[in-house]
Each structure stands twice: as C-alpha cells, then as structure tokens.
Symmetry: none
Subunit: 200 residues, 4 copies
DNA sequence: TATGAATGAGAATTCATTCAT
DNA sequence: TATGAATGAATTCTCATTCAT
C-alpha cells in the first residue's frame, strides 16, 4: 500500500511530478527533484532506482487513482449506458482538472519509459480505453447512441477531457462542477444520445 | 523564403523535428541532431544559434504552414459558417495527420522556449484559435449552430483534431480522407449544426 | 580458529574472493559482495571493518593455507634437497591449481592494502620465498643442484607455478597430478639437479 | 600512425598507463589520469571514448611494440631454433624490464575490457604465444631440444620472463644485459637444449 | 552481533557551447 | 558561412561508510 511507504516517498513523488510537468522529463534534473522534495540526492536513490523509475512510479500511481475513480463512478451508476458514460466522463473531467500535473505527464512522457515499463503503461491505458469502448458499444446495442463513428467519438470524448489538463486553471472562475456539466453534455452529443421513449 | 536557405537548413530542421518528437526536447542532444542531419556540430551552430533557437524555428515554421493551410481552406470555402468550419477541420485534420512530429512538439515543447519566443508562439496560437472562435460565433449568430457551449465545443473540436497526431498511423488502413470525413461530421455534431431550412 | 567464526564469515570471504578475482579489487563493490554472499550490507560491516579489511583477510587466510600446505609437505619429505624441492613444488602447484581465485588476488591486489597490511603481507611472502631459497641453497651446498643462477632459477620456479592459476582449468582434461609431475620435473631441470652417484 | 596523433594523446596514454599499473584499473579515476596528463577531463573524452577505451589503447599499443620487438629479433636471428629462442627470450626480457607498467597491466587488466576488446586482445596474445610454440616445436623436430614437456616448458619460459615486470628494479644494480644472459640460459635449460655435435 | 535508512563524496560521462583558424 | 579542438558545468548514478535502533 502507498500509505506504508516511508514519508519521504510521497514528497519525492510530488516533487518529481511537479518538475516533470513543468519542464518535461528530459529537462528535469534529479538534483532539482531532490531539492524540491527537501531530501538528499542519495536519499532519492535510496527510495527509487533512478529517474526513470520515478517517472514510472508517478505514471503508475496516476493510473491507480484514475482507475479507482472510474470504478467508483461506475459502481454508483446504474446499468444505463448514458448514465455510465456520464459517470466516466465526470470521473475523467474531475481527474484531469484536479490532477493536471499527472495528466500532462501521462500525455507525453511515457516515451521516456523503458520498454518494459512502457508495455505495462500501455496495458493499463488500454484497459481504461476499454471501459469507454464498452459503454459506447452498449449504448449502440441498446439503440440509444446513434453515432455512426463509435470509435472516433470515443476518441474525441477522451481527447477533449484530456485536454482540460492543458488549459484549465481553477483560479479562472470556472468550477469543476461547471466543467463536468458541460463535458457530460458534449459527450452525449458526440455519441448522439437519444433517450428511449418512455412507455406510455 | 524557405527555398532560399542553404540545403543544410532543411535537413537540420527535419532532423531536429524528428528527435524532439521522439525523445522530447530535453532528452535530445544537439549532437544527435547534427548526426541525424549529417552535418557537423559546428555547422549546426552556423545555421542556428543553439538548441532553443532550433526549437523555435520548428514551431514557427509549423505555424507558418498551418496558418497557410487554414487560410487556403477558408479562401476556397464560401461564407457559410458550416462550410467554413468544415474547411478548418479538414485543414487541421490533414495537418495533424500529415505532420505528426510537428504536432507533438507544438503540444508540449513550447514550455522550453524562452520568454520572448513563448510569447511569440502564444500570439500565433491565439490567432489560430480565433479563426475557430469566429466561425463558431458566426454559426451561432446565424442560428445554425445550436450548441449551448460554444467555447467548450470549439475546444473539443481542436482537442480531438490535435489528438490525431498521437494515435494516427498512415499504415493502419485508415486514409486521411476517411479521417476528414469523420472529424468534420463529429465537429458539426459538436456545434449542433442544424442546416437552415431552404426557403420554399 | 576459522571454524569458530559464525557461518556468515566463510560465505562472505568466499564471495569477496570470487568478486575480487573476477573483476579486481577496485572494480568490486561491497554491495556485490554482500549480495553474492547472501547477507545484508550491514551484516558485512559487522563481520569486517570494510572492503580493505576483507581483502586483507582473504590474503592472510591464503597465506595461512599455503604455509600450512608447505609445512606439511616439508614435514613428510626427508632431508634431501631434491626431495624437499619436489615437496615445495608439489604443494605450490596444488595450491595454485586448487585456489585460483586466491592466487590471482595475491598476484596483484596487495597494492590495495594499506601500509601496515602490506608490510604484514610482504613479511609472510618473504618467509615463503625463503623456504625455496633455503632448499636451493642446500642443494647447491651439497653439490646436487648445479644451476649457475640460483636466485633466478628459484624465481623462475615460483613464476611458472604461480602462472598456473592464470591458465589452468580443471575441466581441461589435465589432472593436477599430471601438472605436479611436469612441474616437479621442470623445477629440477631449472636447478640442474644431478643426483649424487650412489656409493659403489 | 602514433606520431600523427595530437600531442595530448601520448601524455594521456602515459598517464593512464602509470595510474593503471600503480592502482589497478578499477581503482583509478579518469580525473586522476587527466590531472596527471595535465589536460582537462573534457579533453580526455575528446581524445578517447572513455576509460575502457583508454585501457584498450594501452594494451593494443603494448602489443604493437612487443610484436615489433619480437619480429625484429627474429629477423636478425638465423634459422637455428636455439638462436631463435634466444632472440625471443631476449626481446621478451627487455620488454618486461623496460615496460614494467605495460606488462603489469597486460597481466591482469584484460578482464576489464569489453567482450569485443578482450577478443581482440586474446587474438593478439595467441599470436605471440605461437611464436614461442613454433620455435620450440622446431627445436624438438631437429632433435636439439629434448624437453619431454614442450608446452609446459614454453609456458614456464614465458612465465619467468613475464614475472620480471613484478620484481625487477633498474636501480637494483642488475643490468638488463645481465638479466638477458641469465634468462636465455634458463630458457635453454628448460627446453633441455643439446647443441648438435659439429661434424668431424 | 544485526539491520534498514541515510548520506556526502566522488564515480564516469555528456552537455551545450565557444574558440582559433 | 565552415570546422575540429577544446572546455567548464552539469548530468545520472554508485560508492564505502555511518547511524539510530
């Protein structure tokens, strides 16, 4: 469990996350990370095997959290595909808006992982993708999503949510709640959601 | 003009573009760039003042091209906002699919520019953004775009187009023409385009 | 006594011996030693004061064994210098062939000892040298060794025996017994041994 | 050619040679080498790719010289195997006595080369070995070397010559000429040289 | 005798850049 | 506009060792 790690771990991961997000993996020196975390360079190496492992830990932890959020959201949602899609979009929007550093890093820095780490990351990403694919497929099966391009609209939904991390600033007056409302609406628009007519 | 520069220039920019896109700005050494371009390290410094200037040149050249493509597309389109939006989306999709390296770099590496260069880049990006904003605003004014969230749908359109650079592979069997058709359709869906009823 | 030391000791010395022999003292890290010995780094420091002390212990233990082997061999030999030389050569050949790691280390790594340790090592080495010198001198006195270069032939005998550690591989089909026979013969050749004519 | 290299090269190789011989490859830092050579650390990397390459260059240069010396000696010697063996022993003794640093390094540090470099080194060493093997075989064929152990006596000759580098000090009053005389004599003793009886 | 955490010094190497020509 | 040599600063990472328990 995360909570069982020594306290230095979290400060370290947080410092690395911020540095990587601000300057990019390659432009970040581990010295800066250690300094920001307030620990010695050697301590950093005591906790993690190196810069790359630090990156991997950040990405993995991010995946843990995102996955947990999505699972929780789906668990609360009923069986209706629209409701489930709403749940996923809300979880994604909240994650992107609340974890902007993490999201920026996920977007590009996976290229800096080694082969094995990258494979691990991709596997987890594919699993996340599948959640959306399944929901969209369900909606189509049930005839309530009419989009002629299920895969592309799914990609579009994810892309627009992911982009939030790049421009959203909580100081800007737009609440995350607002965001959620809008993006849920846009997502349903994209899949061309038509609610089932209630039985007379 | 580009064509008046010595031949080394283009090879250099191309090499730098590929390296930056593959490994990220910070993880790329100018030695690798020079080597990939097949020129000497010293020659590199005679063409460009340094690594950062190289990045700036790439981003600027990209902006030149994208802007030119958009302008050309708009010039051919008529005055109808839907038609104009289609033109912009097509230009963007084609650019993202055809210039994946450039697009990846634009996405994140502007953080590695210096203050002045970054300001310049942002100004140009804002201008591109405005093209989309204007078209969407026109469509709303004319009552043919019904989206309640014009700014968010504009962002969504750009985000989904931009994301193409991250996943699209020309070898994958999906032509750029296919892409254009789908993304134009999705974009019109996003702004909730309702064609004007033709006068009887 | 060796047998009274805790069990970790021997595993540790063996691991260090192998590492030092394979990579050299300077290229060996004590972490690797601890790992190879299957003990913790801290445990290593409880057995020995550090890397250098470990080296010293290895060299000293080797000297113990070699000296013991030589003494035993001489004890069994009679008073005849030829017989005694044979005994020493056999002991040396068996040691070099059986303790290749140790022998390689002795050859060069004494330079990595500290002043005091090195002096100790040299004293013991000189004692071993003297055993050979005495035997050769006896043979000369008794007129059965005719070499005009006693010191050089003694050096040659030791050099050829010592070199065994560098090239001999037990898997190679040559038994240690074969080796002993040959090297005894070569040693006697070097000192130009001429057996006393038996009294008529 | 060596002489065409920039002047820094030789100073560098010499400094590295001394350091490696004194402390061992693993215990030598390239900083010390650069300092001893009186050049900057960066300049070192300008000349050589790294520490290992430096070691390889030293070993290779040594092999060049030794081989050149042996070839010259053999060229001057006639066809008589005894004369040829004398020539090789003299060349070897002079090399070991005159190039003690180099000889010490050759003895053990080849383990610090990488796979490819080590293969190269071993190939050259095998060629040198073969020179001795050929001469001994010739002597046996011609019936003037009587040793029952040609391979072992060859090894013994090389071992005793090689060992010179470890103990010989020119300040000690023993000239290299003396050494040559003695080791030539010992070598002929080892192969049990019996001159052909001159025809009556 | 045991140990996991921690560390400062130093390791090899690479960096972007400058300079003399 | 060309270039090979050179460099100081910074890079990631490992080192032998110590310390608190």
């Amino acid at each position: 469990m995360d909570t069982m790690r020594p306290p230095g771990h979290q400060a370290l991961l947080e410092a690395a996350r911020q540095e990587f997000a601000e300057r990019g993996y390659g432009s970040t020196s581990i010295r800066e990370i250690a300094q920001r975390a307030g620990i010695s360079l050697s301590a950093l190496y005591h906790y993690y095997g190196g810069k790359q492992e630090l990156l991997h830990a950040i990405l993995d932890e991010g995946m843990d959290r995102y996955r947990r959020d999505c699972d929780a959201a789906l668990a609360q949602a009923g069986g209706d595909p629209a409701e489930r899609l709403e749940a996923l979009v809300e979880a994604t929007v909240r994650f992107r808006a609340g974890q902007r550093d993490r999201s920026s890093i996920e977007l590009t820095e996976h290229r800096s992982l080694n082969e094995e780490q990258r494979a691990h990351f991709r596997r987890r990403q594919a699993a996340a993708t599948r959640m959306f694919q399944d929901v969209v497929a369900d909606g189509l099966d049930q005839g309530i999503f009419l989009t002629p391009y299920p895969e592309d609209s799914r990609r579009a939904i994810l892309a627009m949510c992911n982009a939030i991390a790049q421009w959203y600033r909580p100081e800007g007056g737009l609440t995350v709640g607002d965001l959620v409302e809008r993006y849920v609406s846009l997502a349903l628009t994209l899949v061309e959601y038509r609610p089932r007519r209630p039985r007379p």
